[in-house]
């Protein structure tokens, strides 16, 4: 099985790559359209901001490449947000392969932004990506923007308000938390993705 990590300049690429190595998969880091099209699985990592993230994909001429993929695709953190239609972060048009939009968390005295730390997952749908995932499993989040709960939500999370922790539409999937930094729960979900 060939797995590629889209090299769009995110700083967590190394961590995601190591997490896959711990599962026995050596993922290539690439920005090459042909390698991405021909891979069995494609992962779009990314830490950073939406506008530079999209600018980088345009610069690499990968926008249409990613949109037209038919194999399982997984976006992680900002990578997930880039799969959505639009992000409130700098009013950015994203890839639009998952019919969702990204909003900023509202700051309140009880809610620090960024949402940083371990929070519990609540599966709300049945999906192969969620195999063996249990209600209340912990995952590690670091983000200021989030996708509201909608038809595309597979797992929700509560941070004073419910938001999407895992989303999917067709072959495109996204995880808002960092599976590469979510200990055994993260490894379980990455393994499920590799087995899809």
């Amino acid at each position: 099985m060939s797995v590629v990590l889209v090299d769009a300049g995110g700083t967590n690429i190394g961590s995601v790559r190591y997490a896959l190595q711990r599962l026995g998969v050596d993922a290539a880091l690439t920005a090459d359209a042909q390698s991405i099209r021909s891979a069995d699985k494609v992962i779009l990592p990314g830490v950073g901001a939406a506008a530079p993230g999209m600018a980088r994909l345009r610069e690499l001429e990968l926008v249409d490449v990613i949109r037209s993929l038919t194999q399982p695709v997984l976006g992680v953190c900002l990578g997930m947000q880039l799969l959505c239609e639009h992000s409130e972060e700098s009013d950015t048009a994203c890839l639009g392969v998952i019919p969702a939009s990204v909003r900023r968390f509202e700051e309140t005295p009880e809610r620090c932004v960024p949402h940083m730390g371990w929070n519990r997952l609540s599966p709300v749908a049945h999906h192969p990506l969620l195999k063996n995932l249990e209600e209340g499993d912990w995952a590690y989040f670091v983000h200021s923007y989030a996708v509201p709960v909608g038809d595309y939500t597979l797992v929700s999370c509560d941070y004073g308000m419910a938001f999407s922790a895992v989303i999917a539409s067709g072959n495109f999937h996204g995880m808002q938390f960092h599976p590469e930094r979510s200990a055994q729960v993260g490894a379980k979900l990455l393994k499920n993705f590799l087995e899809m």
Partner: protein
Amino acid sequence: MLSRRIIPCLDVRDGKVVKGVRFRDHVVMGEIVDLALRYRDEGADELVFYDITASPQGRSVDRGWVERVAREIDIPFCVAGGIRSVTDAREVLHAGADKVSINSPALERPDLIDELAAAFGVQCVVVGVDSMRDADGEWRVRQYTGDPTKTRSLARRTLDWMVEAQRRGAGEIVLNCMDTDGVRQGYDLLQLAAARKLCAVPLIASGGAGTPAHFRDVFTQARVDGALAASVFHSGALSVPDLKRYLQQAGIVIRLQETVGHE
């Protein structure tokens, strides 16, 4: 509900984990990756590595051990010590660290906080603040605390600096209360509660943990997001699983699973 974080801190000196009392007299505690794995297995929520000699020596973190830790560890970790430019931070983040923490270099040149936040997003940028109460009762920041012969007192008030750091793009603040550090008499609840009021980003308490009740108090009274400690864990005086069970029984939201070894 977001859990409160328990964060063992590993002070790194010349590639080994060390611990001193009140930032002095360092003793070698063990190998970096071994200790990191031990804490991961015990259920630590996050790890912080401070290269305590990097800043006083005017050099950056050695990225070799950052990469070794990143390969082995599946919980988040933050690296601090001598990061004084976007280039330094990029090296450490690309080596696999989740966050960088800056302290003395941010005091030298506060624009560094803005530059890092613009380059990597605020979620990567932790500002560490070393603070001491002066004779006049004010908390003020200290610089170059990794080396007692180079430590400097600054005129800057701790709380003012925290507010400025957030305005510039700090995504998290670690407040290290030096008066209580290493002596295990409890966190500086007064100072941390004052800091909490001015801190809209996650606040991590550091300095003074000795008993499980100290952790409970800092979560319930100062409402910090995480509690960082070093010697109390390294010495075996407290174990992370026992501490977390205690905190859960005290009604604090804590991550309590996966405290057993990995597959």
